[in-house]
């Protein structure tokens, strides 16, 4: 499992740009929104939690189809399926690798973009914490979607259509945590629910994704 994780990370770094693109997209979104909405600080501050979360979500989607598609094209997926590594483990590791190269950098970049969007100072720790708890779900659900669409020629668009509705609960709770944090309200409930969804997804989705992969390899 460690070998697979290291390989995926190494591939991500060597192919260059693969995961940088997601970050650049996130940055561009945070620049474009004020241009579209107007420079007025209070409006921006109010919508900042939502924009940052939606931006993180869309940036995450960009690289989802690479999770399995590349391994499927060059035959590695067939070979991995016949290897001693359980499929569920491979799925979880690949989702983790995806998170390390997209979700984690997005989380670290987010406070900087919060400044651009005039996020209230009290919101920053909660922005980082909510993304830290929520983005693993985005990668795991994304890996499930990628497993469903791996054999398809135009899988990318379908993948977004399948995955985006599944992101709804994470988005709602994640943005709610930041919004309440910025306004200094109690936020234990959405934070706990956000963490619960992440843990549930990490525990159960590898099985669903592995089942989907096996069907696709048939």
């Amino acid at each position: 499992m460690r070998a697979l994780l290291l390989r995926d990370l190494r591939l991500a770094f060597r192919s260059g740009g693969g995961f940088g693109l997601g970050l650049a997209f996130f940055l561009i979104l945070a620049i474009l929104v004020p241009l579209g909405v107007g420079a007025e600080g209070t409006t921006l501050g109010r919508i900042a939690p939502g924009i940052l979360w939606v931006g993180a979500l869309l940036a995450c989607i960009l690289s989802l189809d690479r999770i399995f598609a590349l391994d499927h094209e060059d035959g590695s997926l067939d070979l991995l399926a016949t290897s001693p590594l359980p499929m569920e483990g491979a799925v979880a590791v690949k989702a983790l690798a995806h998170w390390l190269v997209t979700g984690l950098p997005l989380t670290l970049l987010a406070p900087g973009l919060g400044v651009l969007l005039n996020l209230a100072p009290a919101g920053y720790p909660w922005l980082v914490l909510s993304l830290l708890l929520g983005t693993p779900t985005l990668s795991m659900v994304g890996a499930f979607g990628a497993a469903l669409t791996v054999g398809l020629r135009r899988g990318g668009l379908l993948l977004s259509l399948l995955v985006l509705p599944l992101y709804v609960p994470t988005l709602i709770f994640g943005a709610e945590v930041v919004r309440r944090g910025a306004e200094g309200m109690a936020l234990a409930t959405p934070l706990a629910l956000l963490a619960a969804i992440s843990l549930g997804a990490a525990a159960l989705l590898p099985f669903a994704a592995a089942a989907a992969l096996r069907v696709n390899l048939r």
Binding site: A3, L11, G75, D78, L79, T82
Partner: protein, 205 residues
């Protein structure tokens, strides 16, 4: 017996392509699959490798003993030859990669990226992967594609060593590998003859 198969039927895309297949393979034995394109060689190998379910019949085979090599080599073009092999060795908890590199004559290429190799060199690297799996039963799908004559002979030697050490192999190929000891199995007699069934059940085999 490494593998026993009774009355096996395999299907591709919902259509049964081979049926009534009985096979037995013991240690040190090699089996060459022959048959025209579309006769189900790849489908049979994938079924034996456990990638797809059998349409009918029994396969008595421990999946932990199988190493499968497909048309595609599963190489990562941005990793070096040594890194590609080391990855598979780690996945299988297998032996060191030195023997595999020596056996497939890759010593001069270890630091090259797989993307910079020629088609034949890639194929050799793909076959070297078999040696780091440490598994006894090799299922090989057209292993000699894009290999030159010398490399085919090299590979035949590797297979012979593997058999001598108690391994076994099933090889789908059109080329004469130079393995006279291998049993040849022609798949033509096992090709499906469609049996007409009546009504709406027939669509749901």
């Amino acid at each position: 017996m490494v593998m026993t198969v009774r009355n096996l039927a395999v299907a591709r895309g919902g259509v049964t392509v081979l049926q009534g297949l009985d096979l037995a393979l013991s240690a040190g034995q090699a089996l060459t699959l022959r048959g025209p394109n579309g006769s189900g060689k790849t489908t049979l190998l994938r079924t034996l490798a456990g990638l797809q379910p059998a349409a009918a019949g029994e396969i008595d085979l421990n999946p932990e003993t199988v190493a499968y090599a497909a048309h595609a080599d599963g190489l990562k073009s941005t990793l070096t030859v040594a890194e590609n092999l080391a990855f598979w060795s780690a996945i299988y908890g297998g032996p060191s990669i030195d023997r595999a590199i020596a056996a497939m004559d890759l010593a001069k290429l270890t630091r090259r990226r797989a993307g910079e190799l020629s088609a034949g060199q890639k194929r050799r690297l793909g076959l070297a992967r078999l040696l780091v799996t440490g598994r006894p039963l090799w299922l090989l799908d057209e292993p000699t594609v894009s290999l030159d004559v010398a490399s085919v002979a090299l590979f035949a030697g590797v297979v012979r060593d593997h058999l001598a050490q108690g391994g076994a192999a099933i090889i789908a190929t059109h080329v004469d590998l130079g393995l006279p000891e291998a049993t040849i199995l022609d798949l033509d007699p096992f090709r499906t003859r469609i049996l007409a069934r009546d009504g709406f059940d027939e669509a749901f085999a």
